[in-house]
Amino acid sequence: MVFKKNIGDLTVIRNLRLNQRHFLLELQSEKPFPVMLPGQFVQAFVKDAPVTFLRRPFSIHAVNFTQNILKLLIQIKGEGTRHLSTLREGEKLNLIFPLGNSFTIPHTKEVLLIGGGCGVAPLLFLAQFLNQQQIKPSILLGFRTKDDIFEIEEYSRYGKVFISTDDGSEGEKGLVVDHSLFQKERLPFKKIYCCGPEAMMKFVDRIAKFHHIDCEVSLENTMACGFGVCLCCIAPTDKGNERVCTEGPVFNTKRLAGW
């Protein structure tokens, strides 16, 4: 599927601080949105930041197509995200969107979504989308600690939510792959969608492969352009080096070399 790419200023209508390291940007467009699917991302231009030079990629967290509102869930990492965290209502944010491919529509209703850290971002949009396909996924979210948790009610609207924290302060203690969901001989899932740190995704994929569950992951990468021309964002696949921003960011782990 080919998506028409847009470039333009969106207006910040809300900048909500979720906790010390995360915030939620609600952006409104004057023009109607194009088709956008879960797993796709935007490239945001950080204006007036002395250090950042390139755009910054963020997954589409949620979309309201009737009101032309797009949400980004952002973790403060460095200068670029710190700067975006200071955006005020009414200010503009220039985006190129939508970029990349998307999660595929599953051929099953037994679906599990797994997110870690700010890798949870694209899963809300995905859960919403699955609901529209009459699928209520299970959603397993991993956080470092209780204080990092946010928006559980949002996810709960679309499926059953399970939580794990590294320190056990909420939900089960440990990594997502330690969760009791997986402590069974046969898992009740036929499809896993996963997004988070690479190490976590590889762990999840190992479980998926062991249980012969189809698994799609959204890869991390450092990107210069985000729309396929610089060839900086490469992942080795069964077809050689492919562009994470264009052939990805979502890959079926079957296709990833070295996984």
């Binding site: 028409k4 231009f45 030079f53 060839l231 900086c232 964002c233 080096n241």
Partner: protein, 305 residues
């Protein structure tokens, strides 16, 4: 209306704004953002003799006012270019120029010879300046005798406009410029990237898989301007200038320094419409300064006191 058209080595350009190799894909990727037919030309990305996978990830590091890349000439080779890419882009109504790369003189010759057969490619840009492959062009671009030799060899098999793209990683850029002019270059383009390096202090590792990579973006503009100025004064062939051009003012600086045309590179990543905005900005500048043709600005830097 000010006149933007120029002629470089017999080739007509609608305006002096083109896009740099490796930063514009094959042009297709920009169709959602701009109409390529408005551009002076497009330098498509490097084509080599055979398929190349390029370097391992990570290939990119952001730096102050720029970026490092170590893509390493990833492309599917000349056969694939002729068969798959050329048919899709040959009908763009602008000059499509192919960046020709290789590890040996024979490879450069093979690729150039094949491109010579393609009717709708009026020029090649010989890339003797890629810092990102072991046996890549950069060695050719830093030794005058080798620069001359590879240029002369390709000259024998390539009969249209031959541009040669120089590496800035040299002590004396005019020496290299003279060597490729002697070798038969019709046009000199410069600069390619500066060799640089980035380190992640937290992990205590290089950011790039290749340790070093090529620096581009506005950080390098002062070096690029200087080299365009030096080469413009040193050789009789026209110069195409690039390196950190972000806006029309930057482009005009290069033209004043002696560039007959410019290429927009890294700027395309940040604003895919940068090249079009630069064309409009040049037009405005000419009107504001009451200059009837861009040609009057080429090398027009006033250095009298």
């Amino acid at each position: 209306m000010a006149e933007l058209a120029i002629n470089i080595a017999g080739l007509n350009f609608r305006n002096p704004v083109t896009t740099a190799s490796g930063t514009f894909g094959y042009g297709e990727e920009f169709l959602d953002f701009l109409d390529p037919d408005q551009l002076g030309g497009i330098f498509v990305k490097a084509v080599t003799g055979k398929n190349r996978d390029g370097n391992a990830y990570p290939r990119m590091a952001e730096t102050t006012g720029g970026m490092l890349n170590s893509v390493g000439l990833q492309n599917k080779g000349i056969d694939h270019f002729c068969r798959e890419i050329y048919p899709k882009i040959r009908n763009f109504n602008t000059n499509i120029m192919v960046n020709v790369s290789g590890s040996t003189i024979e490879e450069y010759m093979t690729v150039a010879e094949r491109i010579n057969e393609l009717d709708d490619i009026p020029a090649i840009e010989l890339n003797i300046s890629c810092p990102n492959v072991k046996l890549g062009g950069m060695a050719f671009g830093t030794v005058p005798a080798m620069a001359r030799e590879v240029t002369a060899a390709v000259r024998k098999v390539y009969h249209k406009v031959m541009m040669v793209k120089l590496s800035p990683n040299v002590t004396n850029i005019t020496e290299i410029a003279r060597a490729v002019t002697d070798g038969g270059a019709d046009v000199i383009t410069l600069i390619n990237t500066l060799l640089g390096m980035a380190i992640d202090a937290e992990t205590q590792r290089p950011v790039l898989s290749t340790i070093t990579g090529g620096l581009s973006g506005p950080a390098i503009k002062p070096v690029a301007l200087r080299m365009v100025w030096q080469v413009h004064k040193a050789v009789p062939v026209p110069v195409i200038g690039l390196g950190g051009i972000m806006n029309a003012t930057d482009a005009i600086e290069f033209i004043l320094a002696g560039a007959s045309a410019v290429q927009v590179g890294t700027a395309n990543f940040i604003d895919p419409q940068a090249s079009i905005k630069i064309i409009r900005g040049i037009e405005e500048y000419l009107t504001r300064h009451n200059i009837s043709s861009i040609r009057e600005l080429i090398g027009a830097l006033r250095t009298d006191v």
